[in-house]
């Protein structure tokens, strides 16, 4: 049996970049608790449109937790209070009737607001771009078992590769640091044999690009709690280790590793 919720929303409305913004209060009545958070916003928007008002702009795409497009601050927590889920996977049954829900866009200097709840996360792309490519043999595909990878290593790389690039880690961080995202992207390749050739070059370039946009990690651990993929803080330690190694080994030494 689904229940019906009557909610009060406080949503950040901002007409465009560098425009002043403010919280607007909306009544969201008669919301089924089977709805997802984004569906709830859809319903509110349809009512706004019916009233000839401008709907709330919010980021979304796949709505199944795999694309990393969605993401807002819900009651002071990135992607809401539910652990290990993106905003699109957060269900209204996690809220109670009569709740007031505060919705705010990600905030970081690197993520300027585009409109309402939508922010520009392109610095994350800049970090990826700095990582370059891996030396993958092209031509005929290898046999699946050509490159032997221990199970634990494959698991660790897979855990890191789970990052969907949503930016919640930056949003949750009191320092707006990009460490969790960057370390996940670095470790995904650095842990695998295919990623060894550019390991140290990649680590150096990605860390230094990250530092152009984001703050620095003070090990609060908020990022990992906010992360919809529950990316581990361990990767940040691995990144720190590889970064120093990258600096200590000069290029020629790196070729011996």
């Amino acid at each position: 049996m689904s229940k019906i919720l009557n909610l009060t929303l406080q949503v950040w409305r901002q007409a465009g970049p560098n425009k002043p913004g403010t919280f607007e209060t909306y009544q969201a009545n008669g919301i089924s608790d089977d709805a997802s958070f984004l569906e709830m916003l859809d319903i509110v928007n349809e009512r706004l449109i019916a009233d000839n008002k401008i709907p709330i702009e919010f980021p979304h795409d796949c709505r199944e937790g795999i694309c990393g497009t969605c993401g807002v601050m819900i009651n002071g927590q990135a992607h809401g209070h539910e652990r290990g889920t993106a905003t699109c996977q957060l269900h209204m049954r996690k809220f109670s009737d009569g709740d007031t829900i505060v919705v705010e866009p990600w905030r970081a200097k690197a993520f300027p607001i585009v409109r309402d709840l939508v922010v520009d996360r392109s610095p994350l792309d800049a970090v990826i771009a700095a990582g370059g490519f891996i030396t993958a043999p092209t031509g005929t595909a290898n046999d699946a078992n050509d490159i032997r990878i221990p199970k634990e290593v494959a698991d660790s790389a897979m855990d890191a590769a789970a990052c969907i690039g949503c930016g919640a880690c930056v949003a949750a961080c009191p320092n707006s640091a990009g460490q969790l995202f960057t370390s996940a992207k670095i470790w995904h390749l650095n842990s695998l044999p295919q990623g060894q050739a550019e390991r140290y070059k990649r680590t150096e370039a990605m860390v230094e690009t990250m530092e152009q946009f984001f703050g620095s990690c003070t090990n609060h651990g908020e990022c990992s709690e906010a992360c919809p993929k529950e990316i581990s803080l361990d990767f940040i330690a691995y990144m720190n280790r590889d970064y120093i190694k990258a600096k200590v080994k000069n290029r020629r030494l790196a070729s011996q590793s």
Binding site: R121, P174, A237, N250
Partner: protein, 263 residues
Amino acid sequence: MAAPTLAKNSADTPLRKKRRELPFPLNLYQTAVGKKWVMALTGIMLLGFVVFHMVGNLKVYLGEVQHLSPEGEYVTDYDINIYGEFLRDLLVPLLPRTYLLWILRLGLIAAFALHLHSAISLSKMNLESNNRYESKRDWVAANFASRSMRWTGPIIFLYLLFHLADLTWGVGAASSEWERGEVYQNLVHSMSRPGIAIVYIVCNVALCVHIFHGAYSMFQSLGINNPVYNQLRRGFAAGLALLILVGNLSFPIAILAGIVDLP
């Protein structure tokens, strides 16, 4: 009206430019990840000092002992005063008196300066990178210790200066009976003033809170991470912080309670 768009995306306008790279190892200190290494390593040095300082101070509980003075006579003195002399005499006659002590002191001063400088420049970087939320944040993992590092740090720094003036230099807040080398007497005179003891206690709580986050955080900063031992890191930090707190707080309490006193 066309939908408002950003002329450029935010990746085109980094907050800071890449700087020209200095030669190794100075280049490490140019980046935040490198600065965190420096902060962790200097933190370990300072932690080492704090532990030794606390353990050394436990000698106040040994009271007076008889010993053979350098002049070859039997004298009675407070054990901690003898220990103070011993520190000045370290490695004599290989090095002249107080040389090694000064080498250690200079190392500590350098560590402290680097710890402070990296903290200030990283804080600056963090403050210019973050945009504050308009609504209330709901912290999940960040604890009181991790969020108060920027406050406990300066408290410890100011207290350090006060503590040195009070007991090492004998200036400012030092008691009127202060005398160089009389470690035990100076300590008792100083801490029997309740105001000074309270300041000492408050600042040591700040130190304990600082160590609770720092002693955990350093593992991450140094990349010391092993899934088998990770769950021990918090316990290690808590144990160390508590050990230092209990040890250090025992001194003013023992003095105020009259357990450690002068004849």
